[in-house]
C-alpha cells in the first residue's frame, strides 16, 4: 500500500455531493480518509501543495476502444490505460469490437487481467450483445457480467435487428446492466463517409444523413419503453436525437446518453481538404447540431461526455478519405478541449463539467468512482485550469496519433492522477 498523501489547499470539487470549496484532502490506505481545512499529515505521509489547482474525482470514460486483442500495434490495454491516466481518467470502459470479439467470459476476463497487470486506470470490459457481434445470437450476458463486464454493446455496428435489441434489453434486466447501442440505420448509412449536407455535396463524398441515427434512437427509445430495460445511446451527434431523448426522459424511459468532445466542438467543415482526422462515425455534423448537443448536456438530456477513443495506425489514416478508417483518439485531449470550449466559453461551470466527465458517467454504468466522500476509493485527479498548452500528438502516450486537435491551443491540464490512492500520473 502506498504511503498516505495529503493534498493541501486545493479547490475540492465533488459533484456527487455538491462540494466546491478550498480545503485539504487526505488519502490513506487507498481511500479518501479526510476532507477539511488544516488537516494534519499522518506519519510518513507525503504532502503536496495544490494551491490554485482543482482536486476532483477521477474522470470516467464509458466508451473507449483498446484494440487488444487483435491490433496491439494501435493500442493495448496497458497503453490505453496509460493514455487514460495522462488525461485524468481513472476508469474507462473498453468496447468489445476486438479481434476476436469480447463476447464470452474468458475474453472479458482477459481484459480484466490486462487491466490489473497494467495497474493504471481501471479498464472495465463491455461485452458484446451478440456472439461475434454478428447481430444474430445473444452473447452470454450472465457469464460476462460474472467475469467483470459492466455493460453490453455491439458498438462499431448497430444492433440492426429490432427483435435482438428488444431481447437484449429484456435479458439485461436480470443483471442490471445497460445495453449500449451505436445508433445507425444500415441501409441509410450504406457506404457513407461523412455527414450528408452541403459540405459532402461539395466534396463529392457520400453522406450519412442525420436520420440514419435518429431512426435508431427513436427505435431504441421505444424498445426501452417496451422492455423496461436500460438503453444507453452512444455518441449522439444530431439535434434530432437530442429532442427524441428529451421527450423520452419526460416519459421516464430508462435511457442514458453520451456525447463526444469532437461532436461538441467540430462540424463537418473539418472534413474540408479531405482531412481524414475528421472522419469518424457518427460523422461531425452541423453548427446547429453542435449547439443542440451542448444544450442537451447543460439540461442533462445528454448524461455524459465519452471520448469514443478509437486508435488507428498512422498509415491507415494517411489515405484517400473514402479509404481511411473511421475514428479518432481522445483520452489525452478531452479535458483540455472540453474545459476550453465549454467552461471558458461559459456553456458549463467547472463543477458541471466534472459532473459530466466523472460523476454522471460512473452513475450511468453503475461504476465505483465519480465521487470523493470519506471512505470512497481514492480515484482522484488534480487539474490545472489556468495553464495553456498546445496539443502535440507526437507526445501522446497512446500508441496512435489520430487526433483532429493536433496544434490546438487549450487551457486545462491534468497535473496528477491517483488510482486507489496511488499516484499513476504526475507532473510535479
Amino acid at each position: 500500500m502506498s504511503k498516505p498523501l495529503l493534498l493541501k489547499g486545493g479547490r475540492v470539487i465533488d459533484p456527487s455531493r455538491d462540494v466546491d470549496q478550498v480545503t485539504d484532502l487526505l488519502v490513506q490506505d487507498g481511500k479518501v480518509a479526510g476532507i477539511g481545512q488544516g488537516l494534519g499529515a499522518p506519519d510518513g505521509a507525503e504532502t503536496r501543495d495544490v494551491t490554485g489547482l482543482i482536486v476532483a474525482p477521477g474522470l470516467v470514460d464509458i466508451h473507449v476502444h483498446f484494440r487488444e486483442p487483435g491490433n496491439e500495434d494501435e493500442e493495448t490495454v496497458a497503453s490505453g490505460a496509460r493514455a487514460a491516466v495522462t488525461g485524468g481518467y481513472t476508469a474507462v470502459c473498453a468496447m468489445p469490437n476486438t479481434d476476436p470479439v469480447t463476447d464470452n467470459q474468458a475474453a472479458v476476463g482477459f481484459i480484466v487481467r490486462q487491466s490489473v497487470r497494467a495497474g493504471l486506470a481501471r479498464v472495465y470490459p463491455i461485452g458484446a450483445v451478440s456472439v461475434g457481434q454478428k447481430g444474430e445470437q445473444l452473447a452470454e450476458f450472465g457469464e460476462m457480467v460474472g467475469a467483470g463486464a459492466v455493460a453490453v454493446s455491439d458498438d462499431g455496428k448497430p444492433v440492426a435487428s429490432s427483435h435482438l435489441m428488444r431481447t437484449a434489453l429484456e435479458y439485461a434486466r436480470t443483471f442490471g446492466i445497460p445495453v449500449a447501442d451505436h445508433c445507425e440505420e444500415p441501409t441509410l448509412f450504406a457506404g457513407g463517409v461523412m455527414h450528408e449536407g452541403l459540405v459532402s455535396s461539395r466534396l463529392g463524398l457520400k453522406g450519412i444523413p442525420a436520420a440514419a441515427e435518429e431512426i435508431m434512437v427513436a427505435r431504441d427509445l421505444l424498445l426501452a419503453e417496451l422492455s423496461g430495460g436500460h438503453v444507453h445511446l452512444c455518441h449522439m451527434s444530431t439535434k434530432g436525437s437530442v429532442e427524441l431523448i428529451r421527450r423520452a426522459k419526460e416519459r421516464h424511459v430508462r435511457v442514458t446518453a453520451e456525447v463526444t468532445p469532437h461532436h461538441l466542438t467540430l462540424t463537418d467543415h473539418a472534413c474540408e481538404g479531405y482531412d481524414t482526422h475528421a472522419k469518424m462515425n457518427p460523422p461531425l455534423r452541423e453548427a446547429a447540431d453542435v449547439a443542440a448537443l451542448r444544450q442537451g448536456l447543460v439540461d442533462g438530456v445528454i448524461d455524459c461526455i465519452a471520448t469514443d477513443h478509437a486508435p488507428h495506425a498512422y498509415d491507415e489514416k494517411d489515405a484517400a478519405f473514402d479509404d481511411a478508417p473511421f475514428g479518432i483518439i481522445g483520452l489525452e485531449t478531452a479535458f483540455g478541449v472540453m474545459h476550453t470550449e465549454l467552461v471558458e466559453c461559459g456553456v458549463l461551470s467547472l463543477p458541471e463539467l466534472i459532473n459530466r466527465m466523472s460523476t454522471a458517467p460512473a452513475r450511468a454504468f453503475h461504476l465505483p468512482g465519480g465521487g470523493m466522500r470519506i471512505g470512497a476509493v481514492a480515484d482522484i485527479c488534480v487539474l490545472d485550469v489556468t495553464e495553456p498548452w498546445t496539443v502535440d500528438p507526437a507526445r501522446f502516450h497512446s500508441k496512435s496519433r489520430n487526433s483532429p486537435f493536433g496544434g490546438r491551443r487549450v487551457t486545462g491540464r491534468v497535473r496528477m492522477t491517483l488510482v486507489a490512492g496511488r499516484i499513476v500520473h504526475d507532473t510535479p
Binding site: L198, S200, S201, L203, G204, G207, Y274, D318, F321
Partner: protein, 319 residues
C-alpha cells in the same frame, strides 16, 4: 498570375485564373489543325498518366495534349500494375516521386485523391477526375465550348441534366460557370440531386420541359446503369420518358439551344440520337476543345508564360 502547383478543381480557382486557362487554350487550338501537330513547349518534361479508373476519351485527350507539347509520357493503368496488388496511394506517390517525374495526371475513384497526391509530391498534379468531386479539365473545355458558341459565358443560362449527385463533371461545371457569371440550373430526379445544391447558387428544375424552356445550353450528363441497380431510378425506360432530351422536346423550344454531353453517351437513355447528332449539338466540338484545354493546363502548370503561348506554338517559347 499563375495556377499554383496543381489543378485539383475549379472550386478554388479565381475567375481570372479560369479566364487565363481559356485564353491560353485559344492559340493551342490551331496546333491540332496543322499537318505536323507538335510544338516543343514541354520538351524534356516527363508526365505520368495515372489512371485508377477506366477512361478512354480523357486519357487519350491528355496523351495527345502531352505529345503535341513534346513531353515524354507514360501511361499507368490500375489493372496489371502494383496498384492492383494492394499498393497504397501514398506508396504509388512516393515511387513516382523517386523517379523524378515532372507531372502526374491522375484519375481515381475516391474524391480527394488528386489533392491527396498533390500534397505529398513535388511534381505538378492534374486531376483527371476524382470520385464524385471534380473533373476540372472537363469543366474548362465545357466553358470554352460555350464561349465559342455564344461569344461569352456571363449571363448565359446553362442547365445540367441528369445524375448530378454522382457527377464530378457537374461540380466542376457549377463552379466554373458561376464564377464566370453564368446562370446555372440543374434538372434530374430528386434522388440524383445532392443535398443542399440550391445553396451553391443553382436553380433546380423538376421537369425537363421547364429546364429546356429556360436554358440557352443543356449539358446532358451520362446516366450510369448502376444507378438503376442501386435503386435511384426505377428503370432506364422511365428515365428516358421523363428526363430524356428528345427531338420532340427540343422541337417545342422556340429558341436556339445548345446541346452538350461530356460523353460517353447512352443513346436512347439520357439523350435522343437525333438530338446528339443534330444541328444543336456541339458534342464533338467539346472533344476537340478538350485537347486545347489540356495543352493550356499542362503548359501553364509547367511554368509557361501565358503571353508566350502564342509564341510557344511557333517556336517553343517555354524553353
Amino acid at each position: 498570375m499563375t495556377l499554383g502547383k496543381d489543378l485539383v478543381g475549379l472550386e478554388h480557382l479565381s475567375p481570372e485564373q479560369i479566364r487565363l486557362i481559356l485564353d491560353t487554350a485559344e492559340p493551342f487550338k490551331e496546333v491540332s489543325e496543322r499537318p505536323i501537330k507538335k510544338v516543343p513547349a514541354l520538351r524534356g518534361k516527363t508526365i505520368v498518366n495515372l489512371f485508377f479508373e477506366a477512361s478512354t476519351r480523357t486519357r487519350i485527350s491528355f496523351e495527345f495534349a502531352e505529345k503535341r507539347l513534346s513531353a515524354d509520357t507514360v501511361n499507368v493503368a490500375a489493372s496489371g500494375s502494383s496498384v492492383s496488388k494492394g499498393e497504397t496511394l501514398v506508396d504509388t506517390a512516393r515511387n513516382l516521386e523517386a523517379m523524378r517525374i515532372d507531372m502526374v495526371v491522375i484519375r481515381h475513384g475516391s474524391s480527394g485523391a488528386a489533392q491527396f497526391l498533390g500534397s505529398r509530391i513535388r511534381s505538378n498534379v492534374i486531376n483527371a477526375g476524382d470520385g464524385k468531386h471534380e473533373h476540372p479539365t472537363q469543366g474548362l473545355l465545357d466553358l470554352l465550348t460555350i464561349r465559342d458558341r455564344h461569344g461569352r459565358i456571363d449571363g448565359i443560362k446553362v442547365c445540367l441534366v441528369g445524375d448530378i449527385l454522382h457527377s464530378r463533371v457537374a461540380r466542376s461545371n457549377i463552379w466554373g460557370l458561376t464564377k464566370l457569371g453564368a446562370e446555372v440550373g440543374v434538372c434530374g430526379p430528386r434522388t440524383l440531386l445532392p443535398r443542399g445544391i440550391e445553396e451553391l447558387g443553382v436553380q433546380v428544375f423538376d421537369r425537363i420541359e421547364a429546364a429546356m424552356e429556360w436554358a440557352d445550353v443543356l449539358n446532358v450528363l451520362r446516366l450510369q446503369l448502376e444507378r438503376m441497380e442501386k435503386g435511384f431510378i426505377p428503370s432506364l425506360r422511365e428515365y428516358y420518358r421523363v428526363f430524356g432530351v428528345t427531338q420532340e422536346r427540343l422541337a417545342q423550344v422556340k429558341r436556339d439551344i445548345t446541346i452538350m454531353h461530356p460523353g460517353p453517351m447512352n443513346r436512347g437513355v439520357e439523350i435522343d440520337s437525333r438530338v446528339a447528332d443534330g444541328p444543336h449539338s456541339v458534342i464533338l466540338d467539346q472533344v476537340t476543345n478538350g485537347v486545347a484545354i489540356r495543352m493550356a493546363v499542362l503548359y501553364l502548370l509547367a511554368g509557361g508564360k501565358p503571353e508566350l503561348a502564342d509564341a510557344a506554338k511557333r517556336s517553343g517559347g517555354a524553353e
